[in-house]
Assembly symmetry: C2
Homo-oligomer: 109 residues x 2
DNA sequence: TTACTCTATCGTATTATTACGATGTATTAA
DNA sequence: TTAATACATCGTAATAATACGATAGAGTAA
């Protein structure tokens, strides 16, 4: 069953997992890096920059929008994509919370 | 095709994606939090703390070991699990690298 | 209107992931 | 030796994810 039992975990754990999924595929990392590195939004061009078919890129963009980490504003006939800053910050925060729980002290192994 | 085309992306992008997968399921987040919060390794007990069957927990542990973010040292008849510190630090670093590429300045949308 | 551009969605094929019962294996305890 | 413990692996079922060609839709330009 490819279905995670989200009701059995905390909201924070589910949110971390959701945000991590945004980065859990190299194509989505590439998309997020392209959007984050540009000073302005990208209106198109994403397909040209990626070694994937247009339909596949669109599917990844849809998933990233669902998670909330990017926005897509319509600027006909194009769609303007950019990082959704509050969610980007949320990712920074929650990844920090999880990764900083590990104390860098002597341990048993 | 559920197969990511890793050869088409950079090593860094693939590594970020791999490490993100460690956090991309609430059960694995829970496991990593349990391991990170303990002062000592956990020799068993993980199944008791999680709302999943033993086989499922073992499968998640195997995936986390494959990624490298945890270690499992044998202490018969148990196995001692703990965070693999260098990889944990690697995760901190690469997530930081990606998340810090976004400049907090005025943007177009 | 017609043609063109850009993006989303549909349909479909393939592989991955998640989950758990059952079983195997290795060590300890009796 | 036998039983119990702890964990891994197998087998299997169901759902998710990845990818792309084809098509649809919405807007622009001619």
């Amino acid at each position: 069953m490819g279905l995670a039992k989200t009701d059995l975990f905390t909201e924070q754990q589910n949110r971390v997992a959701e945000l991590a999924k945004a980065f859990a595929h190299p194509a989505r990392v590439a998309i997020l890096q392209l959007l984050a590195q540009k000073k302005a939004c990208i209106c198109g061009d994403l397909v040209d920059e990626l070694p994937l078919a247009q339909a596949t890129v669109s599917q990844h963009l849809k998933e990233l929008k669902r998670i909330g980490i990017i926005k897509g504003d319509i600027d006909p006939p194009r769609v303007c994509y950019c990082i959704n800053e509050p969610v980007w910050e949320e990712a920074r925060t929650v990844f920090g919370q999880v990764l900083d729980t590990f104390p860098l002290v002597q341990r048993c192994c």
